[in-house]
């Protein structure tokens, strides 16, 4: 009888028990051989899956980075001036462009510090003889350091743009600078978990916390995905990579206290400023540089105007500023005598008049304490050129 009629009749396909036993044994052995073969290849197979797993994690991380992070850190991860530091950034990975300078230089500085500590030790003052020895050695060290810094000059001249945005060629590693003792992965990951609530002291918007366990929106595996994506930026960085970073990390300090100093700033008395205004000539190129974070104002770090004034979502778009001032603001606001006065007022006392539909109190109100008269004139002239 054929196979199907046997089936229909409810009969056994293999009539003889010996055949059944034989078929069973052959199948069992074949299964075992197959499984054995798979087991032998399992290592390589798992490795392939691991690679695939890591790759897909990076893909998901990339997608989340676009949605959650790019508004502050930039679509390309290079940071946004005055808004948030670059992560696609040699400094985050501790890439040293001049190891032949920094290695010996750091050793010399460490030696100098020890010597100076010895010299200044009040309890165990060194003998005069020893003191002379120390002085001699410190002088020697200083000339050696100066020599090394000479060697670094070609690099420094190329890295000028990056230095304006906060890069220090002699301290190239972000993690070393904050004395982080663990891996880059853990640094990024734990930053994501906790955010940097205190960074509101020196950034317009602080780094938010992202982990669900700290009240944020993202699960642990998502944080790992994003971290893997950020780590995938690590590569053999070039100087082009360095200078295309739009913003470097800022070391916590009061923005009014660090940088600059000694130069008088304009304050926020608009009438007084307008009186002095005719005495300076604004330079639109420098104004543009200040506005785009490639020049430093009289005090503090870069201004970060572009951090908010891009695209018109968070703050009025830069393009057409002057046209708007002349055609919309002045007719509606008779208290301003001129377009310049409106601009000056908007920069040093932003909360006097809030442009409709935008949030009050968002634009920092301390620019008066950071800009010199020259800085302000430069920016105003630059804004006046925005008359598209």
């Amino acid at each position: 009888m054929g196979f199907f009629s046997r089936l229909l009749n409810g009969q056994m396909i293999f009539e003889r028990m010996e055949t059944r036993i034989l078929v069973g044994i052959v199948m069992f052995v074949a299964t075992m051989i197959l499984i054995g073969w798979v087991a032998i290849n399992e290592g390589a197979r798992m490795a392939a899956f691991d690679r695939q797993f890591a790759a897909r994690s990076i893909e998901r991380g990339a997608a989340m980075f676009s949605t959650y992070c790019s508004t502050c850190h930039g679509n390309d991860g290079r940071g946004i001036g005055g808004k948030a530091p670059g992560l696609n950034n040699p400094a985050l990975f501790g890439h040293d462009f001049i190891p032949e300078v920094n290695g010996p230089r750091n050793a010399l500085i460490a030696e100098r510090t020890t010597l100076e500590n010895e010299a200044n030790d009040g309890e165990n003052p060194p003998t005069d003889e020893r003191r002379a020895e120390i002085d001699a050695r410190v002088n020697e060290i200083n000339t050696q350091i100066a020599d090394l810094e000479q060697q670094a000059l070609p690099f420094i001249s190329q890295a000028q743009d990056a230095m304006v945005r906060g890069y220090d060629p002699y301290r190239p590693s972000r993690l070393a600078n904050v004395r982080w003792g663990s891996s880059v992965f853990n640094y990024v990951y734990s930053t994501l978990v906790h955010g940097r609530p205190v960074s509101s002291g020196y950034w317009p918007d602080p780094m938010p916390n992202w982990a669900q366990q700290s009240g944020g929106p993202l699960r642990d595996d998502q944080l790992r995905d994003i971290t893997n994506f950020i780590l995938n930026w690590n590569r053999d960085f070039t100087i082009e990579d360095l200078v295309s970073v739009q913003q470097f990390a800022v070391e916590p300090c009061d923005p009014l206290a660090c940088g600059g100093g000694g130069v008088e700033t304009v304050g926020n008395d608009v009438a007084a400023i307008m009186e002095q205004f005719p005495s300076v000539t604004g330079d639109p190129n420098r104004g543009q540089a200040l506005y785009n974070n490639s020049a430093l104002p009289a005090r503090g770090t870069v201004l970060g105007c572009t951090g908010c004034h891009t695209g018109g979502l968070q703050a009025p778009d830069l393009a057409g500023t002057w046209t708007r001032v002349l055609n919309e603001r002045l007719p509606a606001l008779p208290e301003y005598a001129s377009g310049e006065e409106y601009l000056v007022n908007s920069i040093v006392r932003p909360n006097d008049y809030i442009v409709p539909t935008y949030t009050a109190g968002l634009m920092p109100n301390n620019f008066g304490e950071r800009l010199s008269l020259q800085d302000l004139a430069d920016i105003v002239v630059y804004l006046m050129s925005q008359d598209q």
Partner: protein, 466 residues
């Protein structure tokens, strides 16, 4: 069925989460509300299915379910032992219960006959399963379950499709709860309903007809359960989804399997395929320079830039170019894209698609699938047709100098027919090139979706999928 349900969730990936969420909300619908809500809460362990819900399902799976199975198996074997097996229907006299009365020489004994047979079949099927799972079926985990993201076209596992199909017939409570329960009760009581004496096929025409009908209805309902049936997603979303979707149920977005080396950064357009296939098959060329100028002038380039900006891709310049000759798989994807758009011609009037590849990291690209089309009138989720069976395009009304007009509420005015500018005597006014000047412009639409693809991610077509 009930027994299979909980293990869907255990892999804890996207498919699992959504399949189970659909199921749990069906449970929620069981009347009265207090019962439904309580059951749902008990199942999920919270308003959403989270880690705790997973644990509940796992416990159901490893304890409650095997326990129930154990009881059923017990009942089953008890009955077999008490009643014994019958002879095949043709071999017994009508009305005679042959079980236990089979002559000794015709009896088949469990040991060794049945046992050897069962063991043999276990060995055979195990072997087949092992072969299938080594070479033919991969069962990758989907992305980690994410309750924020609903994949388009979530369907229950195949053995639940019929319920999902029934749900599309109407009331959630009736079709989702009462109807399946009735079916299960019917199956359970069937032996007590169909007590006909003769077991011969010829005497059981009614029962066999009902059985066939039942199988057909289940098949139809299962078909209706597929996301292809009766769910109206707009054509652009559908096409984009087909381009980029994550692998699931044997389907994968057609862009994903393109090998990484062929994902050459650049902008590619389905117009290339259209020209090559339709317009000029002789010399196979799209004049890209002219095409780029054209979309620059008609504003489509700006539309693309704006759309991508919303999707976090900054781009200043739109410049399409031909697919490189050493990227045949990319070309194939573009062809597939073109064919999909072609099949949606009616809804995506004058539609064309772009695949835009940008490098994000040295081993990671971003791929944006963009579709541009002119809006047509849609009524109740379907393309509305005029008496000739054509779609009805939509237009913005513009003033004579081309600025869009708005109504009192500030919304642009949209009309269903083009309106030429007429002079005092009612003749159309022509422009320099002799074309009539229009008071309407087509409503241009653009949509896009993007994915990132890593060199090592290795997406592949799954057997049996599309």
């Amino acid at each position: 069925m009930l027994r299979r349900y909980p293990w869907c969730l255990l892999p804890w990936d996207q498919l699992a989460l959504w399949a189970v969420t659909i199921g749990a909300s069906m449970v929620e619908a069981s009347p009265p509300p207090i019962v439904g809500q309580t059951l749902n809460l008990l199942l999920r362990g919270g308003p959403d299915i989270g880690a705790n819900g997973l644990l509940r399902f796992y416990l159901l799976h490893v304890l409650a379910v095997p326990a129930i199975l154990f009881v059923f198996l017990g009942v089953h074997y008890y009955k077999v032992v008490i009643h014994g097996f019958s002879l095949p229907p043709q071999k017994e006299n009508i009305g005679e219960d042959t079980a236990k009365r089979v002559p000794l020489d015709k009896r088949v004994y469990y040991i060794p006959e049945i046992l050897t047979s069962e063991i043999m079949w276990i060995a055979v099927t195990t072997f087949v399963l092992v072969v299938l799972s080594i070479w033919f079926f991969h069962a990758p985990l989907e992305n980690h379950a994410d309750s924020q993201v609903t994949p388009l076209g979530t369907t229950a596992p195949w053995y639940f499709l019929w319920i999902q199909g029934a749900l599309k017939l109407g009331d959630k409570v009736f079709w989702g709860i009462i109807f399946p329960t009735l079916i299960i009760i019917l199956l359970m009581v069937w032996p007590y309903v169909d007590t006909q004496v003769s077991r011969r096929y010829a005497h059981r025409r009614l029962a066999i007809t009902i059985g066939c009908l039942f199988v057909s209805i289940m098949t139809i309902l299962s078909y209706m359960g597929l996301s292809e049936y009766g769910v109206t997603t707009s054509a652009d979303t559908e096409v984009l989804h087909d381009a980029v979707r994550e692998p699931a149920y044997g389907y994968i977005g057609f862009i994903r399997p393109v090998p990484f080396d062929q994902l050459v950064p650049g902008m590619y357009s389905t117009e290339q395929i259209r020209i090559e296939r339709e317009v000029n098959p002789a010399d196979f060329q799209l004049d890209f320079a002219a095409f780029n100028t054209e979309i620059d002038e008609n504003g489509q380039a700006d539309g693309i830039i704006e759309q991508l900006q919303l999707q976090y891709l900054s781009m200043t310049d739109v410049a399409f170019r031909p697919v490189p000759s050493d990227a045949p798989e990319l070309y194939r994807a573009l062809e597939e894209y073109y064919e999909l758009l072609e099949s949606e011609r009616q809804e995506l009037r004058n539609g064309w698609g772009a695949i835009i590849i940008t490098e994000t990291q040295p081993n990671l690209v971003r791929v944006d699938a963009v579709v541009l089309w002119e809006e047509v009138l849609i009524e109740r989720g379907r393309v509305a047709l005029d008496e000739n069976g054509n779609a009805i395009p939509r237009f913005y009304r513009v003033s004579e100098d081309g600025t869009p007009l708005t109504d009192e509420t500030g919304k642009p005015i949209i009309v269903d027919a083009p309106e030429p500018l007429l002079d005092a005597s009612g003749n159309p006014v022509l422009d320099e090139s002799g074309q009539p000047r229009m008071l309407t412009i087509p409503v241009e639409r653009v949509n896009s979706q993007y994915i990132y693809l890593h060199r090592n991610a290795e997406y592949f077509f799954l057997p049996g999928g599309g």
